[in-house]
Symmetry: C2
């Protein structure tokens, strides 16, 4: 009996640039009808022209008839002025991404003084742009970076009560505790890998570069808190994969890049997790309670004020093995068995 789900959204994805762009876009579009596209390209997306150009590049890679729609973001850089934001919104940006300096891939140009961005946050609040935050404090010890950043979020939320804020790829129980104390204007995305991994999956046995990401996976108690929020149906916690492909040579290296390529496996892995934990996959089955479908296809859209996707996808119980690589990118869980696959026609 196939499982029919509303087509999901991925509220945090790295689609990269040519030549990686094409296969990554098509893989994401197989599974998702929309994706919030991160702007940390080279150069970063900081102007309406760059934003439009990046969208054109993405759309040019889609198969004919694809219903996938990229949701573009811009990168908050110190050169931006409040007046620059309306043209970005008019070009289609739904949000602006804050990268503290040096915390992840292509963030050497990141922000060193968050408060200096307050005039931009003010403009974003007025324009209805969402502030997406990579919430790690530069300079703090790796396992403490997310927690150390949280007071900044509290101050932003207190100062801009109508600004919608997303704490991206939460990795700690502390971030979820804070979220619970904050108003409805604040939400968080969760990746599939932070639902499944702890630091032990990176350094606990042999070193596992293909499980290495920022923020780094943390303690079992952190992973369990993330699972509890997601499986408990917290509607301010929704799916953003942070799927972030790097070529094998850049991962299996003396200086390995951070990022996990989850686009091809995220939905099957989430389905297995929900099923294993006894949480329904579909809204129909859940009768108003938590479900995979809400996590991937409702809560995020509602927070962003977007209509729900109309298309559906079909998951079929069909065993398969995760490929060792996709165009020289080793995917998350390479070689592992999956119990679910996308139905033949993808969806309808």
């Amino acid at each position: 009996m196939p499982t029919v789900l509303r087509a999901p959204d991925d509220f945090h994805v790295h689609l990269r640039q040519a030549p990686m762009l094409g296969p990554v876009v098509r893989e994401t579009a197989r599974w998702f009808d929309r994706a919030l596209v991160m702007p940390n390209t080279t150069p970063p997306v900081t102007t309406p022209e760059l934003l439009r150009a990046y969208r054109r590049e993405i759309e040019a890679e889609l198969d004919p008839g694809s219903r996938f729609r990229p949701l573009l973001t811009f990168k908050l850089v110190s050169a931006l002025r409040p007046d620059d934001l309306e043209p970005l919104r008019d070009a289609g940006a739904v949000g602006g991404k804050l990268y503290p300096q040096g915390v992840t891939t292509n963030s050497a140009d990141g922000v060193t003084d968050v408060e200096a961005l307050y005039p931009l946050f003010q403009a974003m609040q007025e324009l209805g742009l969402v502030l997406e935050i990579h919430a790690e404090e530069p300079g703090a010890f790796s396992l403490d970076r997310e927690r150390a950043f949280l007071p900044r979020i509290e101050r932003i939320v207190a100062r801009f009560p109508r600004l919608r804020v997303v704490i991206e790829h939460v990795s700690t129980a502390a971030a979820l505790s804070l979220l619970a104390s904050l108003p409805e204007t604040v939400a968080a995305t969760v990746t599939v890998h932070h639902l499944l991994l702890t630091l032990d999956d990176v350094v606990g046995g042999e070193l596992a570069p293909h499980n290495f990401c920022k923020p780094i996976a943390k303690r079992p108690a952190d992973r369990d808190a993330i699972r509890a929020a997601v499986l408990g149906g917290d509607e301010r916690v929704f799916f953003g994969s942070d799927s972030a492909p790097h070529r094998r040579g850049a991962k299996e290296s003396a200086c390995g890049c951070a990022g996990v390529y989850t686009a091809p496996v995220a939905i099957p892995l989430l389905a297995e997790l929900f099923e294993r934990e006894g949480v329904p996959l579909t809204e129909a089955e859940a009768r108003g309670g938590p479900s995979l479908e809400r996590f991937v296809a409702r809560y995020g859209a509602e927070f962003y004020g977007l209509p729900l996707n109309e298309r559906t996808i079909t998951l079929v119980a069909s065993e398969s093995t995760v490929p060792d690589e996709y165009d020289d990118v080793v995917p998350f869980r390479a070689g592992a068995r999956l119990r679910y696959a996308l139905g033949d026609h993808g969806g309808s």
Copy 2:
């Protein structure tokens, strides 16, 4: 003005097997007059015959006239019987190494039931053999493994009050706190990398497989506690490098091996650390206080009941760059600048 030190001992080293054995032995012998050689070869050193054979292999690789002397150990495996230990001691073993199962390289055959080894510990106590412990609890979260193992050490020490026990490559403040509370029969070794690294040097920026070791480097507070013990001249804390070469391909891999090759750089790096922290390098300069010379050439020998080395080595202030590799092994701090080098003739 060159610095003359009593030739150091390395109380924890992996010399490996042919073809890696030769260059590693000669590099270790350049710096150290003795080294306690770990027995986790393939097959492991568990019999007098294997121990003698391994010593012959090591000695065959030494340059003519070398004064280097390997101190052999055997691996504690469940097949050993108390009666097996006297022949091992007579073959020259100075200690037996306990590897809990699965905690590091070649430990799949490690111990699952530490208490089942108590008859061996009893025999070791009677024979004057030292118990060297890789103190990590299998199954615990990586950052907690050392701390989780400590109660086992307390029980062993309480049960065998005359058994000399070394907690190898301590990586936590907790282990040093425990050590302070235990009698003089217990000591600890410290590596150069645990004096210099934290987890951030492995996963805090890009992934750094050449800083990946077991036990994994921990928090800054742990590193600081290790530094305080060493720089403060705790005489039960002495140098054991845990130098553990792996070929580049085994480190920069989808499944990277744990181990850091420090033999070529350990003494210069230690000299820089002591100097930077204002602790004398030589005993003469220290006038009874802490010094590098005591850490590397006195405390360990005294704990093991060995005479101090008579030879000296000479450190000269001479800038050099750590090579990118030694026979396909990337050393610790590859590419970094060193301020000290071994004097022309090594020593006298």
